[in-house]
């Protein structure tokens, strides 16, 4: 396991992100408004911005952390253009709850609505429609960024554009996003017409993605424990907003997992059973259903703290992308490797990305991305290093927002625009101010 320095400070608390790993002592500043953020930046040492802590690894962890959840005011909404102006701590959950009944929805949304607008920009998140809609940043008109010297600038694709491109996907390492104007899309329903199609192997999985390229939303759940002729079999899900005009949305309730699951719940047997059940739930090759926005986009939000099922040791998500031409062979090799290790992943989500954008550190590039969850255990990091080698040999890269353990070499090779990012970070003197455990680990 990579070692984490033990950070001790006077008014400190234990902090961790979604993976529950690592847990570090850090001093957390709860910021209530812009003025407080500015005087904190001017008077305190290094820090890292934090939204809702839904990144899996160490991106939002540090010795000092500025928590922006209280910077959560809506500023304006134009119901003609769908332009929403809000502070960076606003949760996507609130945007959906408030605006879906008015016929507006996020243009790009991740698999959870429990993240902040700031976090969505800083990770330049992607959704099930990346192949058509790109990343979150493609709907960001502008934002205001608080810099290391306490000044504040507006960044947009055509204003301070280099800083804009470094901040979208920049993991909080250029400054603090204070507020932003984002564009919502008009929708006709709270419902999604969903089709689920069963595939028998990796080739037919790939064929499905190609065939349904024009469908706005698509994703596949891979059975990561299947092997041989079943390798890469999946449930492929695609969908689009229904046309029923029903906007009567209220968020679905979620359950709690009140304690840390004992570790034995997750031995290979139970993972196998889960995957088996999930896969065999579907008898026909094709199912059509109408599901709510919550069920379609945010199935995991149905259970609060589901991250606890991995036990106290925590877990990590390994998400990589491989360029399209290398995707098939690379994925095959990786799935075989995982199967051999017997360390099956609870979730294995596959998605075909569209074109790469211009941002310095945004993750998506054209090709297939796979996300796998692994419980933290002594053997797991060795396995992931082996997977790294395969990803590298295919010129792929790993998603910073999920990462907690990759090494510098892996990172440098994956992100070829890194030098440009580092230059901007230096010019902004952000390298002496905004420091996360991840930025230290990756020498960012």
């Amino acid at each position: 396991m990579p070692g984490y320095l033990n950070i001790h400070e006077s008014d400190t608390r234990n902090l961790t992100s979604w993976g529950n790993y690592p847990v570090v002592e850090s001093s957390v500043f709860m910021c209530n408004d812009e003025q407080e953020a500015r005087s904190y930046i001017l008077n305190e040492g290094t820090t890292i911005p934090r939204g809702n802590g839904r990144s899996y690894g160490d991106s939002a962890l540090g010795k000092n952390v500025i928590n922006l959840l209280q910077l959560n005011k809506f500023i304006s909404f134009d119901d003609q253009s769908g332009i929403l102006h809000c502070e960076s701590g606003v949760l996507l959950e609130d945007i959906v709850r408030i605006f879906l009944p008015q016929g507006w929805f996020l243009r790009v949304t991740p698999g959870t609505k429990l993240i902040t607008v700031g976090g969505a920009i800083a990770s330049d998140i992607h959704g099930k429609n990346h192949h058509q809609a790109g990343c979150f940043s493609s709907n960001v008109l502008d934002f205001r960024l608080l810099l290391s010297d306490g000044t504040c600038i507006t960044c947009a694709p055509d204003q301070n554009s280099e800083i804009f491109r470094a901040t979208c996907g920049g993991m909080g390492l250029t400054g603090i996003i204070l507020d932003s104007r984002i564009k919502l899309q008009q929708v006709t329903s709270r419902n999604i017409l969903q089709q689920t199609i069963k595939s028998e192997n990796l080739q037919s999985t790939f064929d499905l993605f190609d065939k349904h390229e024009l469908e706005p939303y698509s994703v596949a759940w891979i059975d990561s424990l299947a092997s041989e002729k079943n390798l890469g079999r999946c449930l492929f899900m695609k969908g689009d907003f229904a046309c029923d005009g029903n906007l009567n949305y209220s968020p679905s309730k979620s359950l709690n997992i009140p304690f840390y699951f004992p570790v034995f719940c997750l031995n290979t047997m139970s993972v196998k059973a889960f995957n088996y059940l999930y896969y065999n739930k579907i008898r026909d090759n094709f199912i059509e259903s109408t599901v709510s926005v919550d069920a379609f986009f945010y199935p995991l939000d149905a259970v609060n703290n589901w991250n606890r099922i991995y036990g106290r040791q925590g877990f990590t998500q390994y998400q990589f992308v491989l360029p399209k031409e290398k995707s098939f062979d690379g994925l095959r090799e990786i799935l075989i490797r995982i199967h051999r290790s017997g360390q099956g992943s609870f979730l294995a989500v596959l998605k075909l990305f569209g074109k790469e954008n211009e941002n310095y550190l945004s993750f998506p590039c054209e090709g297939y991305t796979l996300a796998l969850d692994f419980k933290v255990s002594p053997g797991i990091f060795r396995l992931l290093e082996e997977l790294d080698k395969i990803v590298l040999s295919c010129n792929g890269r790993i998603y910073l927002s999920k990462d907690v353990r990759m090494n510098t070499a892996m990172f440098r090779k994956g992100y070829e625009k890194l030098d440009g990012f580092l230059k901007i970070r230096k010019e902004l003197r952000a390298d002496a101010k905004f420091i996360s455990l991840q930025s230290i680990r990756l020498q960012l």
């Binding site: 408004d33 005011k73 809506f74 500023i75 304006s76 502070e87 408030i98």
Partner: protein, 243 residues
């Protein structure tokens, strides 16, 4: 289209109340000094809860402006929440004349003048409710804050009289006596964690009590007991205590 008026809307307790009332669909007049500073708070409430929120300039020590201030509100608010308070700098507050005068004017005189204006209008219309935030400090004077405390005692007595007077007109008056609340007012004081509540919890309690038509509430109940004990300590003994 029901509006309510929040006086001292920048107070932390008032903000929490604004959120609760907006969540229940009430439109708001937010009255405060430099009310413009509430702009972002107001826009957030409007968008989140789809209610109308208007900001109004109000200084509770400008007594002669109170009549015009209230009657120019259109529509007339169906309820008024008084959340203004001034703790004073301790213990100087008891020694400096200007500080004493100011404490009494903000906490009591201003409260009595604006709420009298409100009461007159509500009495005429035979409808409306008034919520006044007093304090447990008004139940018995003690060294550490007796200027503040005595002004709050006056507030409690005033509200009790107002309730008595307005009862026939069906205008309801709620007196709130909070114990310790974690707000701007108490941020530099060391107060016992276990006896301290949050503005959010207090606001929920006030909203429920107002809707149910309760008369006097302590927040939270433990404070009723604490104050019962404190008010029953014989003066001979009480004067020796350092409280």
């Amino acid at each position: 289209m029901e509006f309510i008026l929040i006086l001292g809307a920048k107070s932390d307790i008032a903000r929490a109340l604004a959120i609760v009332y907006a969540r229940h669909g009430y439109n708001l007049f937010l009255a405060a000094r430099n009310a413009k500073e509430l702009e972002r708070f107001a826009s957030d409430l409007q968008i989140r809860y789809q209610v109308e929120v208007r900001m109004k300039e109000f200084d509770v020590t400008e007594f002669s402006s109170h009549q015009l201030f209230f009657t120019s509100l259109n529509p007339m608010p169906s309820g008024t929440l008084f959340c203004i308070g001034y703790l004073g700098t301790l213990p100087a507050s008891a020694k400096e004349i200007t500080e004493i005068v100011h404490t009494v004017e903000v906490n009591f005189t201003g409260c009595a003048t604006i709420l009298s204006v409100v009461a007159n209008e509500y009495e005429k219309k035979r409808t409306g409710f008034i919520v006044g935030i007093s304090s447990v400090a008004g139940d018995r004077g003690r060294t550490s804050n007796y200027i503040y405390g005595s002004s709050k005692a006056a507030v409690s007595a005033f509200l009790s009289g107002l309730r008595n007077r307005l009862h026939p007109s069906k205008v309801h008056v709620l007196t709130v006596k909070p114990g310790y609340v974690r707000t701007k007012m108490t941020k530099d004081l060391s107060i016992p964690e276990k006896l301290t509540s949050s503005p959010e919890k207090l606001a929920e309690h006030i909203f429920r009590s107002q809707q149910k038509g309760r008369e006097v509430i302590y927040s939270f109940r433990i404070w009723r007991l604490i104050m019962l004990i404190i008010t029953h300590i014989p003066e001979k003994l009480f004067k020796r205590l350092s409280l």
